[in-house]
């Protein structure tokens, strides 16, 4: 009797173990993904360096693979988008900017005071010159990413952009253009970015993120050069008509699109990292500055003070202290500021500073661009990705799956080391803004990208 029971008990336990192993795992019931009303057979991302994957002040392969365009397409692939074709730079990931400098990495740098600290440093002596002078055009695989670093809205139809004989040509575009560095005799004109996009068949869906470069060079010059694109004027000259002609082209071919608005670029770390009142003085320095500037009516105190800047509008001497809200650019020579009384005895030059008036001018222009973008995108039935909202949120800081993201230089986790372009993680978050807009407008259910899968700045 006892024996039989022991057998049943063992059988019982064996069964339990069997049940334990098999029925214990929750089943995955994922909601279905759908492209909604869009056709993703031929997706093309159109834009500037953000779309191309320009980051750390260079275009390099890893950045391209983690670009806004590539990450967006990776998600679109879940609902039918095709393979990602990128005009890849070299696999050594040295990268280059238009001045042939390599990408920035985080490294150690000794400053003028002998202090060693983390700082963006160039990865190599020289950038990937060869990549900029070698055509990567392929008639077989049309690029799904027409992100061109530096591309302005008005450059879309430009026949100068790919003409390597002209100083204003764009080397990043020329290397991927179908002209392959050679004047196309049969057409007479060098082909534009737009011609390249439509070459060999229209896309079925586009993302368009243009306009930043229509104001950024002006802002980066401290509002001293590179005038902003005017709102009015013919395609190729005015912002609005350039946008309309592209939209018309797409609309006439029944091509749907998602269009990004433009963020307030002056809130990017390139413009916000150095505080206007970062001039820290001890008693002796404050006294000597008071001696210099006292006659002009400016006084200095021990502790934090406003930097001194050149401003032609400021009295007879054209010098004044900065006021709250004004910005110093990351291009300002930090060693001179730290060790050579730059920004105090010697005022900061105009090109390193954005004054309140200049900031107003830039921000107004961005608002005007955005109004135009919204108006025409609505008219043509395109989705609108409010990137401005996203960048603002980044500025305030937010928590993403347990990770605090902010617009802080280096430590914020979203910007690359150039302080303007996003890093892969930032690009993924930005791509999600585009996907959210697509989902909403075209009744699609495209999963967002997991931004934590994408990297931030590497620390040594």
């Amino acid at each position: 009797m006892v024996k039989r029971n022991s057998f049943y008990k063992q059988l019982f336990l064996v069964c339990l173990c069997g049940i334990a192993l098999s029925s214990c795992k929750p089943k995955e019931k994922l909601s279905p993904n759908s492209p909604g009303e869009i056709n993703l057979q031929q997706f093309v991302a159109i834009g500037d360096g953000n779309t191309a994957g320009y980051m750390d002040d260079a275009l390099y392969q890893y950045g391209q693979q983690n670009s806004l365009g590539a990450i967006l397409q990776t998600q679109l692939q879940l609902v039918g988008a095709g393979e990602i074709y990128l005009p890849l730079m070299g696999s050594a990931n040295i990268g280059t900017n238009s001045s042939f400098l390599s990408k920035l990495i985080l490294g150690y740098k000794t400053d003028c005071l002998g202090g060693i600290g983390l700082s963006p440093v160039r990865y190599a002596q020289q950038g990937e010159v060869a990549s900029l002078t070698t055509s990567v055009y392929s008639s077989q695989n049309k690029y799904s990413n027409f992100g061109v670093p530096g591309l302005r809205m008005i450059d879309l139809v430009s026949t100068a952009l790919g003409n390597i004989n002209l100083p204003q040509h764009n080397a990043f575009f020329a290397r991927m253009s179908k002209d392959q560095f050679t004047w196309p005799v049969w057409s007479g004109d060098w082909s534009s970015v737009q011609e390249n996009i439509f070459d060999g068949g229209y896309p079925t869906f586009c993302s368009i993120y243009l306009g930043i470069e229509d104001v950024l060079p002006y802002a980066k010059s401290g509002a001293t050069a590179n005038p902003m694109t005017p709102l009015l004027g013919l395609p190729g000259i005015g912002f609005e008509e350039s946008l309309i002609q592209l939209s018309e082209q797409l609309y006439s071919q029944n091509i749907k699109a998602v269009v990004g608005t433009i963020p307030d670029i002056t809130q990017m770390p390139y413009f916000t990292t150095i505080p206007y009142n970062g001039l820290n003085l001890d008693e002796a320095n404050a006294a000597s500055l008071n001696q210099i500037y006292g006659p002009l009516g400016f006084s200095f105190t021990v502790g934090s003070n406003s930097f001194m800047i050149e401003d032609p509008a400021a009295g007879a001497f054209g010098v004044r202290p900065m006021v709250e809200g004004e910005l110093i650019l990351l291009s300002a020579p930090l060693d001179s500021i730290k060790c050579h009384q730059y920004g105090s005895v010697y005022p900061l030059r105009d090109e390193f500073v954005l004054t309140l008036a200049e900031l107003q001018e830039i921000r107004n222009q961005i608002l005007a661009y955005n109004q135009v973008i919204r108006q025409h995108s609505n008219f043509y039935g395109f989705a609108i990705a409010e990137t401005a909202d996203f960048y603002k949120k980044l500025n305030d800081g937010f928590v993403y799956n347990g990770v605090t993201m902010s617009a802080k230089f280096v430590s914020g986790g979203a910007y690359s080391l150039d302080g303007i372009h996003l890093n892969p993680k930032g690009n993924a978050l930005l791509a999600n803004v585009f996907i959210t807009a697509i989902n909403k407008t075209f009744k699609a259910t495209i999963p967002l990208a997991n931004a934590l899968f994408y990297s931030s700045t590497y620390f040594p």
């Binding site: 029925s23 994922l30 799956n401 899968f453």
Partner: protein
């Protein structure tokens, strides 16, 4: 004899690796008979487990006895992130809540009873797959607490018994998560907080038998504040950030809630018993999970994570039939509210309202030796967006817990 040997081995093998798949990190596997009857039995004394369920009822058992039991918990969590529509799973080890009871009386049917209860009413080990989307919130959490409770009980009258015990709880905590800074190979940093904790409490109960058929039990198990002292925090980060993440000691506090139970047992005939327990768990004490680091830096601040648990009720119902003198069959189930409020569901306790079912059986091998076994099954689903981490998705937890105990009485 061989069976006892095997059982002991089984017990030793799993040592004390708890796994809490119950409300919060409460573990309700303290007795196989109760586990078979929907985790109820406060008013139905059975064996040494009464020392835990209701010390006041143990005096109604005319025996000296020793009971040992273990309940492996096979638990799996699936998290589906709502934004990316991607699934992530737990890889938690098998949990092993155990219990051991020894109960003695000075003379047969004496009024005084003494006993020792050693068990694991709280604990949790949850670990998630590598690179999961919540890795910066949690990768692994191990909470262990062993309650040691010397107990006395006294029968005041034939219908009325009281009992109480003093609880010493010894435990440890190990919490790990990744840090969102990457080295030059792209590898993320990692944080590990580990420490031992100790806490004290008590357990009192009264047992009342108004009629031959009905018993009523009322118990209160106090909260136990587990104090963590000299925990060790270690961080693996890129070398350039090491001074911002120094290895440091830390202190913390983890309150384990009080449990008040009102239980009923209805016993219309020898072969049939119905039990009902109503639990109130004082989870409100788990208000904040705070870590106070001895060394703070710009990157390493003391943390205070709101948990804001709330007190809950749970209802447990079960029955037992005895087709033969030596065989018992049991069936039960329960319904428990969750202490975790919306906005506070986290990977550490992906808790929700739960409904569970149990069954069990017991067999008396001889006058002295019996074996009891049970199975518990639950599936919990909870969708939430955590206010602190902004993790948003649905947790589905399935737990299956087959348990076994052996008792010896004389």
């Amino acid at each position: 004899m061989k069976r006892i040997y095997l059982g002991t081995l089984y017990l030793l093998y799993f040592v004390c690796n708890n796994n809490g798949f119950s409300q919060g990190f409460q573990v309700n596997f303290q007795g196989q008979r109760q586990q078979g009857m929907g985790l109820a039995g406060t008013a139905a004394p059975f064996d040494g487990s009464s020392l835990f369920f209701n010390p006041g009822s143990s005096v109604f058992l005319n025996q000296n006895s020793i009971v040992g039991g273990v309940t492996p918990v096979f638990g799996n969590v699936l998290f589906i992130d709502s934004a990316t529509n991607a699934p992530y799973r737990s890889t938690s080890p098998v949990g092993t809540p155990f219990s051991f009871y020894a109960m003695f009386q000075l003379k047969p049917a004496g009024k005084l009873k003494m006993g020792l209860s050693v068990n694991t009413p709280f604990g949790s080990t949850v670990q998630y797959e590598d690179n999961w989307i919540g890795r910066f919130a949690l990768t692994r959490l191990e909470l262990k607490a062993i309650f040691i409770q010397p107990t006395f009980a006294y029968r005041i009258a034939d219908q009325f018994g009281i009992g109480g015990g003093f609880v010493i709880s010894s435990g440890n905590v190990n919490l790990q998560k990744d840090i969102p800074v990457q080295d030059t190979n792209g590898v993320y940093g990692h944080a590990e907080l580990a420490g031992k904790a100790i806490g004290f409490g008590y357990n009192i109960g009264i047992h009342f038998t108004p009629s031959k058929q009905l018993s009523i039990g009322l118990t209160y198990r106090s909260k136990v504040a587990m104090n963590l002292r000299d925990g060790e925090a270690t961080f693996t980060v890129p070398s350039s950030l090491e001074d911002k993440f120094p290895a440091t000691s830390f202190t913390g506090r983890l309150p384990l809630p009080s449990v008040t139970t009102l239980g009923f047992s209805y016993h219309p005939c020898n072969a049939f018993t119905v039990v009902l327990d109503i639990n109130r768990v004082g989870w409100k004490v788990y208000d904040t999970l705070a870590f106070d680091y001895a060394t703070n830096t710009s990157s390493l601040a003391d943390t205070k994570s709101p948990r804001l648990y709330k007190n809950i009720l749970a209802f447990r119902l079960g029955m037992e039939v005895k087709p033969t003198k030596s065989l018992s069959l049991r069936l039960g189930g329960g319904y428990g509210l969750t202490p975790v409020q919306s906005g506070y569901v986290s990977p550490e306790t992906p808790d929700g309202i739960r409904i569970y079912g149990t069954f069990g059986l017991g067999y008396e091998l001889s006058q002295k030796i019996r074996i009891d076994a049970s199975v518990y099954y639950t599936k919990i689903k909870r969708s939430d967006t955590n206010l602190e981490t902004n993790m948003s998705g649905t947790y589905t937890t399935i737990a299956l817990a087959p348990g076994l105990s052996i008792s010896y009485k004389w």
